[in-house]
């Protein structure tokens, strides 16, 4: 992955967050993606979310596989540790890293090829394991790095740049995640930063696997007429089911006056997610109705967005593993090795 370092220039008037860091401190190397790529907007939203959440950059693990989307971990939080692994296998690497050191914040970035074809099994099992991580699926329906083949998320009838129409049914990561038992399922649009930033923040604060399917148009290979993952199509067909505000614990909570029905979900760290359903009967804490809503939107040719489902009571990987709050990497050797006396006594069992 190509990357060009940005000069470390800081404007004197740049605002700082509680850690004294500016937005620039959450940026990474210069992007080498195509101008106008949706992925760069997602990167900008991650930068914004990290700054607003006051994440310590060096306590973040940036995880990715292979593809245009996976390159973007180099473009944010340059002081974070990054791991650009192999195609479709970021979930397993993150599972291992999280098992070893649970004290870091893991942000995984993947794409529709990386997640829904070669990595479908790994993504599914990371959901099942409920690894505590944010999983951004930058979804453009197309293989960009290899120049324009359909991906598994391409809609039936969606046309390639050459005019060829896709005939195979798409895999919808939102429906899949809901089916697999994911505890945080959202969809957004790279062009809608206002919606995306709070969802990313909520996803980071969520305990367990938080997946955000982000429609992120490919300007080079899938932004033409006839594509269902273009800017124009998405803008026209996006239906925000739930408007999301995220209020971190450390901030003063000021609830805006509103007549609309607002649901508040408390995250494990005490932060709050406020969900305002645009349709009065939508319940984002009910997996069945979330599923039905996404399907109904699909039938109408619409794309349901927002934080579609959240369950803050799910058990995550460390609950299953019964691991201590202290990361395994920080346990002293003396507490891991049973020692000579134990081995000597154990030997009697093999007599």
């Amino acid at each position: 992955m190509t990357s060009i370092a940005k000069p470390p220039v800081r404007h004197p008037s740049s605002r700082t967050n509680g850690l004294g860091l500016t937005l620039r401190d959450y940026e990474g190397a210069m992007s080498t993606l195509c101008a106008g790529c949706g992925h760069d907007s997602v990167t900008a939203a991650v930068v914004q979310a990290g700054w607003e959440l006051e994440l310590e950059p060096h306590r973040v693990g940036k995880m990715s596989g292979i593809g245009c989307s996976s390159k973007t971990t180099a473009y944010f939080m340059k002081q974070s540790h990054g791991f650009n692994s192999v195609h479709g296998r970021m979930p397993s690497v993150t599972s291992g890293a999280a098992a070893a050191n649970r004290s870091l914040t893991y942000i995984g970035v993947s794409g529709d090829g990386d997640s829904l074809s070669i990595g479908l099994g790994q993504m599914s099992h990371a959901i099942r394991r409920n690894v505590n991580m944010l999983y951004l699926l930058e979804n453009n329906g197309v293989y960009g790095l290899t120049k324009g083949q359909f991906s598994a998320s391409a809609d039936v009838g969606s046309k390639s740049k050459k005019g060829e129409a896709n005939e195979q049914t798409p895999i919808d990561p939102v429906l899949l995640a809901l089916t697999l038992g994911a505890t945080f399922v959202a969809r957004s649009f790279s062009g809608d930063k206002k919606q995306l930033v709070p969802i990313i923040k909520a996803g980071i604060a969520h305990k367990g696997f938080a997946i955000i399917d982000i429609i992120s148009p490919c300007v080079s290979f899938n932004d033409h007429e006839g594509s269902t993952k273009s800017y124009a199509f998405t803008r026209e067909h996006e239906v925000e089911a739930v408007h999301t505000d995220f209020i971190p614990l450390q901030r003063e909570i000021t609830v805006p006056e509103t007549d609309e029905e607002v649901r508040t979900v408390t995250l494990h760290d005490g932060g709050l997610v406020r969900l305002r359903a645009t349709a009065s009967d939508y319940d984002p804490t009910n997996r069945e109705s979330a599923y039905a809503h996404v399907r109904a939107c699909q039938a109408r040719g619409e794309i349901a967005t927002g934080l579609l489902f959240v369950d803050e009571n799910g058990r995550d990987m460390h609950d299953y593993l019964r691991t201590p709050a202290t990361p395994l990497v920080d346990l002293p050797f003396e507490s891991l090795c049973p020692g000579k006396a134990a081995l000597d006594s154990l030997m009697e069992r093999y007599r």
């Binding site: 992955m1 190509t2 990357s3 950059p57 060096h58 306590r59 693990g61 292979i66 971990t73 180099a74 340059k78 002081q79 974070s80 540790h81 990054g82 791991f83 650009n84 692994s85 192999v86 296998r89 979930p91 397993s92 690497v93 993150t94 599972s95 291992g96 890293a97 999280a98 098992a99 070893a100 050191n101 004290s103 870091l104 099994g121 790994q122 599914s124 099992h125 394991r129 593993l321 019964r322 691991t323 201590p324 395994l328 990497v329 346990l331 050797f333 507490s335 891991l336 090795c337 049973p338 020692g339 000579k340 134990a342 081995l343 000597d344 154990l346 030997m347 093999y350 007599r351």
Partner: protein, 599 residues
Amino acid sequence: MNGVNDFSFKIGTVNGTGSASANGLLMQAIFRMGIPVTGKNIFPSNIQGLPTWYEIRVSKDGYTARPSEVDLVVALNPSTYAKDVATVRPGGFLLYDSSWPLDPDLVREGITIMGIPFGRICVENFQGDRDRTLLRNIVYAGSLAALLNIDMDVVSGMLSEKYGKKPKLLESNHKAIQLGYEYAKANFQCPLPFHLEKMDATSDSILIDGNTACALGAVFAGATVGAWYPITPATALMEQFKAFCEKYRVDKATGEHKYAILQAEDELAAAGIIIGAGWAGARAFTNTSGPGISLMQEFIGLAYYTDIPAVFFDIQRCGPATGMPTRTQQADLMSLAYASHGDTKHLVLFPANPGEAFELAVQSFDLAERFQTPVFVATDLDIGMNDWMVKRLSWDDSYRPDRGKVLHKEDLDKIQKFSRYLDVDGDGIAARTLPGVGGKGAYFVRGSGHDKHAAYTEDSDAYQELVDRLKRKFEYAATVMPKPVFTLQPGAEVGLVTIGGCDAAVREAADRLRDQGVTVDVMRIRAFPFGSEVREFFDAHDRNFVIEQNRDAQLRALLAVELGIPRDSMTSILDYGGMPLTAKVVVDGVLRHLAKVPA
């Protein structure tokens, strides 16, 4: 063979009928009589209904290889009668179940045929099909105790240990063993000419399998993350690791687990998990067999190219493809040494038995972290799943893990700039940081081309500088890997070179050859890459044999490629049918090639 405390016997049964516990009982009883003993379980890839054999070798001299001939066969599986009767040595004995008329398949001249109605005894004495089937095994164990002079007090004591808390089971087992014992005593000249007499040669030893020993090594080395996908013959390694962790690593007050075991969706994920954990700073391992190693190739190359420690236990089985999953082989040597695409070379350890497997398992974690690279511990089904008599495992409490070059926050504070892949010491090993340490120590792991600063590159010189450093690291590793084990004799002009589980058979063969006037030196290689002493051994002998368990002479190929020894100067003795090696195969092979075929 075939004297007091020097013989072997084989029991042929149907798997899933409970014979394994009776066979284990016999072996352990002999061990507790102080007599060196080895057991080889020859079992099918099946849960119930297919032929299975258990071979027990008794050797007062301490030979532990699979026996070259069998003195007594207990034939209890009609579907293999013909095959089983053929394996009795001339003058040997056959014991069959005479509840039914003698099968024509079992008739053979030159051997003694004995019948005991095991089935009928069970029908007459026990109720229900299940008990009758299971206890038939204990009845034959009782008969063998009489025929071979196994100490009945030892056997009774073991039954009490096993069934002490289940009085009904204890009673029926005692009854069964007694019935078998008394029938044999009453009907045959007991004991047989070859039999057991108490010794005191096992008090410093244990009976243990290699998977258990490797699991213990991982526990004692402080491994905290294990990831795996179940596969024969490697499965028990992680199950034992779990059992030991439950015993030693669960906080009694809180119930918290100081370990994480992830049963992954496949071997690819298992590899990814341990590489992620290794990157994060944990000692992590996976256990697998050849098919799993095939699936892990891409990840192995990633870890190699990005300097990430990880330990892989490969319990080799017969390949290729699914092959024969319950048969042993050493056919993954090449695929481990050069696993993955591109220029890759790996550190591989080859224990010869469970005792050494424990030691090398511990070392594998030190090597992985010291060299920041994948390390393979290659055992095989025979080492992994069979009970071997080895010295009691021992531990030195002064051991501390070698974590390699890791820069902590205070180290980073002292330096201007951290460059992840900069070879400061000239040994090819660059210092690493662990994620979370702080801004100056942050770097980007990438499987794509990177330079010594861990930055992306497509520059030829920067790329070559990095892969040349990896080569330097590998060459340095060759100087510190475990040395071969030499068994030398004065005046030997012939060298036998071998690896892993062939050890016992080759050393026994060296003794047999000496008896026949051929003096040989033995070098057992314990690691890849090879040290200079390996080459020196070849140079010091006029004639060298390379003995291994695969078709394509993979060890010989590695020796030729890595050390430049002319391939045809090394004579291969290959045994790859899936059974543990016997001394006879080695002796016959050497003599044939030396043109001294015995009359």
